[in-house]
């Protein structure tokens, strides 16, 4: 029997029971639709997390002081203050895999401008800070090397702080008082949004690290050194070079532990991606359960159909249909059901994802992979769940089938 004829007669058989065929397909439609929508949501989440992580700047390494071992007591990162400005300049000079270095200090406190005040954190940075974090000043200008050398009382406001302290006027050129030290506002940063942990990155004031060290935190030690590698692939090299340099500078014996910690963005990114990846797999596997249930629905209906059409099978066999002709016929019917369901499900899933993006403002990404996957899945389900009923039909004895009432 020619394939085209089999497919045509399969469509005819399914048309005979329109309602039943539709309800059977509904299982596959919902399953495939759900898989596509869930994958789209999961991948959308993954993408936005990656976006947020890269908002911290690419190729970034952070050197923290501390984790020093005193006898048997090991302290956490940042507990010991051993990182100095000279360390930072040495990293800049002697590590070829390092592009920019920004020594970091941190303070916090209430900031007053006119009759408004706002509690925020004050980040002391070097001149290359914006390069490293791929950030920019929206208006005004960033402080210069000169300001840093002079420990000038100048600052840059984050967007959130600028909005809180200067709701109606431009902050540039005005003065703010940080813990009673007056600072001149040089500029306002562009909006950066939340970071991967959900913290507002714009709720910050930047000032020369020298100013923060000398006028606010009154300490000679750095809280961190922000470093950017020359390229994403040189992050590892930069990490090794910095480690060797600092161990030498801090005179650490070969078998002693480092008195500093280096963290890089790719570690953080890998963790976050793994988390959202698990989310995607979880969502998709819940959705594929419904696909499986849809497949069982097909098997159920095909079994009913084989029983109902036993006489038809007998007639076909009596006029010369072989077992494999009957097998093909019922397999194709199951396949047509699951394929049609799959195609409608894909349309539904794509439509649903677009609707979710539009109404719930969730990022969704529909990949060709997820469409191919669900399409392949529905074919596999048609064959898998269609085979048993089809084989049952093919193995019928023609006489018994003909006599079946």
């Amino acid at each position: 029997m020619k394939m085209l004829n089999i497919v045509r007669s399969a469509f005819r058989a399914l048309r005979r029971n329109k309602m039943r065929s539709f309800l059977t397909m509904l299982g596959i439609i919902i399953g495939v639709g759900a898989v596509i929508a869930m994958l789209a949501i999961g991948q959308g989440a993954e993408y936005s997390v990656k976006q947020q992580i890269s908002s911290l700047g690419t190729n970034v390494l952070i050197v923290f002081p501390g984790s020093q071992q005193t006898g048997g007591l090991r302290m956490g990162a940042g507990t010991v203050t051993t990182l100095t400005e000279e360390d930072a300049w040495a990293i800049q000079k002697e590590c070829p895999a390092v592009a920019f270095v920004s020594p970091g200090a941190r303070s916090g406190g209430q900031v007053i401008a006119g009759n408004l005040n706002w509690g925020t954190s004050i980040e002391g940075t070097g001149a290359d800070y914006l390069e490293i974090r791929s950030w920019a000043v929206e208006y005004g200008e960033f402080y210069s090397e000169q300001d840093i050398k002079a420990a000038a009382k100048v600052c840059i406001l984050g967007k959130t702080v600028a909005d809180a302290l200067f709701p109606e006027s431009t902050p540039v050129g005005q003065n703010v008082r940080i813990r009673n030290v007056p600072f001149k506002v040089l500029g306002v940063l562009s909006k950066k949004g939340q970071n991967a942990m959900g913290m507002d990155q714009d709720d910050i004031i930047l000032a020369p690290y020298t100013t923060v060290l000398r006028r606010l935190s009154h300490s000679p030690y750095l809280r961190q050194v922000l470093v950017s590698a020359t390229s994403p692939s040189s992050i590892g090299a930069a990490q090794t070079q910095i480690t060797e340099l600092l161990r030498m500078r801090h005179k650490i014996a070969p078998y002693d532990a480092d008195d500093f910690t280096i963290r890089n963005q790719s570690d953080l990114a890998a963790t976050a991606t793994a988390t959202t990846g698990i989310l995607t797999i979880l969502l998709a596997s819940i959705a594929s359960v419904s696909l499986l249930v849809g497949g069982i629905g097909i098997m159920n209906i095909m079994l009913v159909s084989v029983t109902e059409r036993t006489r038809e099978i007998g007639i076909r066999m009596s006029v010369g249909a072989r077992g494999r002709d009957i097998l093909t016929q019922f397999l194709i019917e199951a396949l047509v059901l699951s394929l049609l369901g799959g195609i409608i499900g894909i349309l539904l899933g794509v439509g649903g994802s677009v609707a979710i993006s539009a109404f719930a403002k969730w990022p969704t990404i529909i990949t060709v992979f997820s469409i191919l996957l669900s399409f392949g899945f529905s074919i596999a389900i048609g064959i898998f769940f269609g085979f048993y009923p089809a084989r049952k039909a093919a193995l019928l004895n023609p006489i018994d089938a003909l006599r079946y009432e």
């Binding site: 029997m1 007998g314 076909r316 006029v319 010369g320 072989r322 077992g323 002709d325 003909l402």
Partner: protein, 262 residues
């Protein structure tokens, strides 16, 4: 799927079917049912044979084996020069497809399927172009007098017309043998005679017709009578003066309700 319609080479001295000591035993739980207990018979090309007998006599079992729907337990069945008793399921299907046409008591048409699609059914299982298949189905329907109803569905046709569609289906692959199992069982007497008329006409064109019936006046249209009892052939006689359907019809009162039924 290359299966060409084949013709049976006429066996020696025109013998089409040679059956030798055929037995069929059905296991039925603990006991065995002996449906056929050693049947031997020869059927020549172009015969019109009526197989008769009470129910349980083994005539239906014999018919099923003759039609390659079932296999004998013992004995041989030669169709032309093919030993059918040694064939596989698929090979039997091929024989049914190309050499045998079936007509059943209950018509056994596919419901919600037009006359032409029912008639072309056997041709779906051999290699043939769509056009040739349609042409042959239409020709077969014309041959049984249904040329004007090729797109009707079974529920739009009377019993006699449905049986004609079934006969057209049996004829569409040019078989050498037509097997009819109680073909008039569901029909009124006038329609029965009309259907017998079609079989007689097919027989006049050289097709071997084998008819199973328990109605003696239907058997009178055949040229040879075989009577089964208890799984054996009880009698095998020639019918020297068969009834001619065309003549019988002329004498019958016309009760024309076929058109209304349609």
């Amino acid at each position: 799927m290359t299966r060409q319609p084949a013709t049976i080479p006429p066996g020696s001295n025109g013998v089409l079917i040679r059956i030798d000591h055929l037995t069929k035993v059905y296991p039925l739980g603990e006991v065995e049912v002996h449906a056929l207990r050693g049947v031997s018979v020869e059927i020549r090309n172009g015969e019109f044979l009526a197989i008769m007998g009470a129910s349980g006599s083994g005539k239906s079992t014999f018919m099923n084996i003759l039609g390659c729907l079932d296999k004998p337990t013992k004995g041989s069945y030669l169709l032309g020069d093919i030993d059918v008793s040694k064939l596989s399921r698929d090979e039997l299907a091929h024989i049914r497809n190309t050499k045998i046409g079936f007509v059943f008591q209950g018509f056994n048409l596919l419901s919600r399927t037009s006359a032409i699609e029912n008639a072309e059914l056997p041709l779906l299982y051999c290699t043939m172009s769509n056009k040739e298949r349609k042409d042959r189905a239409v020709a077969a329907l014309h041959r049984v007098g249904l040329g004007d109803r090729i797109h009707h569905f079974p529920n739009q046709l009377s019993g006699g017309q449905q049986q004609r569609v079934a006969i057209a289906r049996a004829l569409v692959n040019d078989p050498r043998i037509v097997l009819a199992d109680e073909p008039t069982g569901n029909l009124d007497s006038r329609t029965s005679v009309e259907v017998m008329g079609i079989f007689q006409e097919l027989n006049n064109h050289g097709i071997t017709v084998i008819l199973v019936t328990h109605e003696p006046d239907i058997a009178q249209f055949a040229k040879r009578h075989i009577v089964f009892r208890d799984g054996k052939i009880r009698s095998d006689k020639a019918n020297t003066a068969p009834r001619i359907a065309a003549d019988v019809l002329k004498e019958m009162p016309v009760i024309d309700d076929e058109e209304d039924a349609a």
